[in-house]
Symmetry: C2
Subunit: 320 residues, 2 copies
Amino acid sequence: MNYALGVDLGGTNIKIGLANEKGKILFKDSLPTESQLGTKEVIEKIKKLIKNSLKFAQRRKIKIKGLGLGSPGLVNYREGIIVGGAENIPGWTDIPLKKILEKEFNFPCQIDNDVNLASWGEFTFGAGRGSNNCLCITLGTGIGGGIIIERKLYHGSFNFAGEIGHLTINYEGARCNCGGWGCLEAYAGQQAIVERTKTAIRKGFSTTILKRVKNNLGKITPKIISEEAKKGDLLSKIIIEETGRYIGAALAGVANLLNPEIIIIGGGIAQAGEILFTPIRNSLKRYALTLASQKLRITSTQLGQESGILGGCSRVFELF
Amino acid sequence: MNYALGVDLGGTNIKIGLANEKGKILFKDSLPTESQLGTKEVIEKIKKLIKNSLKFAQRRKIKIKGLGLGSPGLVNYREGIIVGGAENIPGWTDIPLKKILEKEFNFPCQIDNDVNLASWGEFTFGAGRGSNNCLCITLGTGIGGGIIIERKLYHGSFNFAGEIGHLTINYEGARCNCGGWGCLEAYAGQQAIVERTKTAIRKGFSTTILKRVKNNLGKITPKIISEEAKKGDLLSKIIIEETGRYIGAALAGVANLLNPEIIIIGGGIAQAGEILFTPIRNSLKRYALTLASQKLRITSTQLGQESGILGGCSRVFELF
């Protein structure tokens, strides 16, 4: 049996996992990434987590085949360099992370974008198992995506593929944080969802959200909206249904263009479950070509918080 | 040197070409496809064209390695079966064309969708040469597309990939012929372009188009609009610029999602040249992420009417 390490570098913590080829995690560890943590500290924390894992491996007489690490932002995966764009880690730019880690540890390291590795995890060990063409989307502050084409992780020509959050769903639409207009994220990203809710409340919609946040609208989050929707709050349900409609319209475009057999949806508001998934499926059917949508499965992630770690390990088994 | 036959089954005629591995066409022939031509007659015409080509090959002592044929509609390219959906050929459904042709001729045949093969032609012998990830779009009555991913023709899980004409660019938008809403085709397809022009004329816009069609609005075509735009007609220029804006918004989505290095645009209104391409590029920049658009090339097709034939030949060299 082969063993690998997977590292998931996130906004709130760095997670590591040691897993076998079957996707079973034998050891896990994590360290917090306080905001404004510098580049050096982040690298030191990664090294520390690796060392902890290696101690475990040594005790169990396990040989590590390699390491896969997912980082936010733009990553040159061929050379293992962090290019930049990770908002939560200041200065996380032009870092030859593969070289740094391979110098210290005697196994090969694969560096990639975090959403790509999480998608690869779902494809190999989660909801996408057995498919050929698969799209994963993560609903969060932003909306990210990873694409698997003919059983291979697809990066595009400039390592930037998968930005489904910036698919234009309304060319006349709202300005997006990316600088574009009418992107899916401008309708179904965290900020858009919360703003729509606040506006409705200010217009006088009655909702259980108000009690939940003790009338402090600044405390509204997609998680709260999801939870209130599940409890039956009408406004929350409307907001989530609208969000589902936007996501479905974007996914219809993807279905018509890429014709995948499965689309896997995870992240914050996806926890709303069928309240979100039903309008997504209805909207997709409304906008997509029948032949592109009739056999397409829309499903939730299976690996939860471990998709990144498992994706990192799985890349090692694939590549090295 | 290897030689192959390429067949392009179109709405107005069936074309055949015999080309070598370098993409040089040594022999060409075609037969008209009168409207309402039955299935049997279409197959007979294809066979006749193949026989004519084989006579030429025999005279030149050329051995044919195989044949690639592009058909409109949905094609099961793995088994070489026409599934259906070709509007111009009634009954062109469930036809095991590969089997039929291979029974009669002693070389392997590859059957695929016509836009896919034309895209493959542009990729191997035309504007896409040397790229890794490439999208071709054809502007015509409908808007079709072909996708090349990591130097391979991409079909999707249900043989339906590339339908960029049915990418939603406005979820609140106009009904599309496909049954969906707000598709690119509903804004930049032939019908939409002509209708926008007619509406403007009826509202009193002065234009040289009127003289050109002798006041018969029914005679307006995208070709006429393109030509009048090139001569400086303001309304025609506005119509083409708007069309470019819609196409650019859709291509921005594709750039953000797939991150190709080149997008090749051909078909009817693409002949307008820079009057169309400049607004496409501007719109793309407006809607797309900088990292996805800055190195992306938007260019016109190079092979013109021969892309389908050459794509068919090229598939033979790749596969057999």
